[in-house]
Symmetry: D2
Subunit: 336 residues, 4 copies
Amino acid sequence: MRAWRYEGGFGAENLKLVELPEPSPGAGQAVVRVRACSLNYRDLAVMRGAYGSGVKPPLVPLSDGAGEVVAVGPGVKRVKPGDRVAAAFMQDWIEGTPDDLKANSALGGAIDGMMAEQVCLSAEGLVPFPEHLSFTEAAALPCAAVTAWHALFHCGGVKPGETVLLQGTGGVSTFALQFAKMAGARVIQTSSSDLKLERLRAMGADEVINYKTTPDWDKPVRKLTGGLGADHVVEVGGAGTLPTSSKAVRRAGHIALIGVLTGGGQFDPRLMMIKGVRLQGIFVGSRAMFEEMNRAIALAGMRPVVDRVFEFTELHEALRYMESGAHFGKICLRVD
Amino acid sequence: MRAWRYEGGFGAENLKLVELPEPSPGAGQAVVRVRACSLNYRDLAVMRGAYGSGVKPPLVPLSDGAGEVVAVGPGVKRVKPGDRVAAAFMQDWIEGTPDDLKANSALGGAIDGMMAEQVCLSAEGLVPFPEHLSFTEAAALPCAAVTAWHALFHCGGVKPGETVLLQGTGGVSTFALQFAKMAGARVIQTSSSDLKLERLRAMGADEVINYKTTPDWDKPVRKLTGGLGADHVVEVGGAGTLPTSSKAVRRAGHIALIGVLTGGGQFDPRLMMIKGVRLQGIFVGSRAMFEEMNRAIALAGMRPVVDRVFEFTELHEALRYMESGAHFGKICLRVD
Amino acid sequence: MRAWRYEGGFGAENLKLVELPEPSPGAGQAVVRVRACSLNYRDLAVMRGAYGSGVKPPLVPLSDGAGEVVAVGPGVKRVKPGDRVAAAFMQDWIEGTPDDLKANSALGGAIDGMMAEQVCLSAEGLVPFPEHLSFTEAAALPCAAVTAWHALFHCGGVKPGETVLLQGTGGVSTFALQFAKMAGARVIQTSSSDLKLERLRAMGADEVINYKTTPDWDKPVRKLTGGLGADHVVEVGGAGTLPTSSKAVRRAGHIALIGVLTGGGQFDPRLMMIKGVRLQGIFVGSRAMFEEMNRAIALAGMRPVVDRVFEFTELHEALRYMESGAHFGKICLRVD
Amino acid sequence: MRAWRYEGGFGAENLKLVELPEPSPGAGQAVVRVRACSLNYRDLAVMRGAYGSGVKPPLVPLSDGAGEVVAVGPGVKRVKPGDRVAAAFMQDWIEGTPDDLKANSALGGAIDGMMAEQVCLSAEGLVPFPEHLSFTEAAALPCAAVTAWHALFHCGGVKPGETVLLQGTGGVSTFALQFAKMAGARVIQTSSSDLKLERLRAMGADEVINYKTTPDWDKPVRKLTGGLGADHVVEVGGAGTLPTSSKAVRRAGHIALIGVLTGGGQFDPRLMMIKGVRLQGIFVGSRAMFEEMNRAIALAGMRPVVDRVFEFTELHEALRYMESGAHFGKICLRVD
């Protein structure tokens, strides 16, 4: 079977299509024939070798994939051959609070990922997905959608009528838009492109702001909220956007710290203290969160926003496309 | 100015239309020209003299009303003449947890209520309502809608995809249906009338059950939830329905105990213990809950379900109509 | 190896000392040489055949036991031979919220229990206990102590200065006394015996009430709390005591519903609704709760209250002693 | 009556002892004869004119004071002459979540403070204090103690056995030590002085670290917690210490961001994201928090740590002493 793998080092130059032996399931395991994968910014960090000292080649990349169970090992009750499943980002974070053991079970990082024709995983790490979704759509869920769900509903407890401020049009932000609207919240969303802002509006964003033409976008946010600020901010930029987010969030509000797209800068925490703001680091989520999210997606008939689907052999092209930042929603790969 | 008042005792026979002096506002107070009121089951309990020893005639009845501010006393900044406002059920429960002082400030119970052409209240107890609502619609909110909001979002923390079980078509249950759907939840609702079930479906109820033809309605609820049971039950029946609700709710689920329509019976708590169920008594809510609910209603453009509007002089007819149980949603009264 | 087992039916007459083959550990399993067990009221319910239709003989009884790991199967990393461990009440409830699968893994109920010289369990179900505890003391923890911990800290969120009302001197109530005092709370505790009340005071109870001479013990509770009522009630009586507990708890207070010692009666939920009380069913707890409790016990150097230790062969005597209700704290059994 | 006041500008040179007219209470107000005050770092920031644009001279300084009610205005039921009371830091934050209105009612900042022989305040802003405390001890509570209480119990939900990391020996940190031990937690505390570390140990600190001789104090913290890190960090240093605190806190742990003693620096939030840390800004707390804290202090018979008591006329000396950082606990002033 074919798989992509970092061989001998990270960097695009070491990411190669290789032939690996077909896996067979041990006790408690299942073999999944992967049908689709998707990319996250995190996969760029892995490629750059910037994803922590615990992550080493040889490594099959990508956390996000979905497929069909083709074989199960002894004692497996959770899935059976023919089941359509996605894989949980952290294979060992079933539920409860995260710990080091759970964190060290992330696909395409601590352990081999999904960018292979077949993967062999613990049955406990597999998650059936809503029937109305294609494999491609299901492959969009494990990292970005679970992250957005975790931020809005586990950390944020978003209620109808509350205001959620979203940044950009990446995977997390488009899922957050869909989930926030599903929950009756009001969404204010930023982008650098008026075209993308149009699309956000069409998807339900209540208010949109071009952060290029309005670099102090905290001002319109406060104005749109009667001077109070947003109840929740899903912060995907990191240190570069946190200062503005701190001004845009309301007193005693909530900032879900998800990404560090703007790089590894620094920020002054004083405003957070005075305003009594809660800054909550979010690192994807548990299988239990994935399952309850799926229930909501099924009920709403929601479909992930898939920007573009590359072929299995086009992984390099797909990663370069992500680097360009031109996408809106998820970048997927077909595996078959 | 005219007002309805219990004179010399409770009971329909003592509920009389009387002439009272026009109020003028003291420091911190506002006079509201009432434009509409609405009824709750609680108003029947007050009429029957069954609402506790602290409630005594002479008493102007009804907790629920909305109108226009016509005068304010010294020091009032919260409202001004011309403002369209509803009154908070408990005038002194601004926010935080309830206590005896707050509980002893309920309109139409501990203190005079809204069924008068003018009322004089603390400005702190008034709540501006969404612009798109008429006075009649606003008068539907203070008791039933705040109760449903409190149950679903403060006690229940309802998330998209969760299942909410609702009973009947009274004020609380129709508001709960609207709020639960607004929040992306799945609603299973019961009624004794197929016609009412049709209306519930039209309003968005995902599944409906006729509890007359299906007295063990916990069975379809469990079946519809993959054997698990509902995540939340908004219990308006009390001891008569709690045993079935206990079977219908999931392990570690949540029952909001709101009403005791089925009377003062008893129930065996063992099942609640074994299943780890949380039974949360709900007694309306705070002004802060009312305000955040209004924000959600405004965003969604939601309108309360008003069954019928009586004239100011028809209070007896309106109360008898509520006793009949024929209504679907709220019973209101025009005041002008 | 010897074990106690219900053979052919429940009832004391069917509870027999039998010889069973020594277990050997499969993958992921560990064999524990049991050194001590303890009793809970639940074990009386099992003996009476009143513990649900899923519980069937032949059955080794008792949920609570501690011992030494003597062998581990392939893949076990959590424990090693020589480790001193107790067993989690529900072997499959590791963390998170309870569900049917987890509930159906209770020792001495759904599956064979601890009253054997050796038991073979999943390594995931074993919990190392604080060093300062003997096997007998550790055997006192799994059911009663975890239940008390769950009630006070997971459901109750007890804070220093809050008032906790405890009933009687059984295992749960004595652990709850120790934990509540450890957390800086004020304890009011009831018993029918002045001698036991003395002992409770010596253990730190701030106020004690003889419920035999003061059957309306809600009155002194309200008096001792400035008329407000207790913040938390750990309700072990059930329907027989709930009406008085409902009067003794404060508005918006919390009743942890743990036991039904007073039998299967009924109660009127109206007072709970009006006062906005939260009645939370508690069914033991997760392994994660057990572990965090152990950390607190170790820090405080706390020791369970062991009333009496019977020999392995004296199970019948121990169960009869529990039935007498004469105990104060836990009844244990030596196994070796 | 005498009062200290900033006249014409901030800075020590403008802080003057002046004669002001004796206040008399309006409706809802009470006049308090102040008997003691205490200092906080915030009072240094006010002196430096670095406390925000809303704070302007003339201003009576200091948020913290306690005294005796000497007169009440019409309608006051909450206090009566002779009552011993402290003042709430934010006079209008009674309960619930903070907002701008509440924040703009801080004594010695937005409005005149307590450093006067008499003050006239809303009766709602006064808080009776535990009987066993002197006026000096009570004057130590409003800012630092309420902040520590808020951080540990409202944001942290500290449970017995959890580890709390504290920094230094200022007011917040010594109160946090006392409260954390009261709640059964384990305390690790830092200081630059071995003498102070000895005193912390004598007060109950379980482990102490000299951060001068151990600048990477996150290492011993992780070692002392089995490699996990502290459950809670009460961060009083700000940007200068946050990077080390981020390493010292456990995955999914909690950092209460209280002070910015190390100045207005910046920090890199990436570690917080990956570890799923919650950084909660804390700005003192509500009157309701003050009251529940007092209940705990009364139950425990706890006494604030008062480092030194200056005379009313020695305000400049007291402020200089605070600047020196030599203190351990609170710096108070006698007023009479």
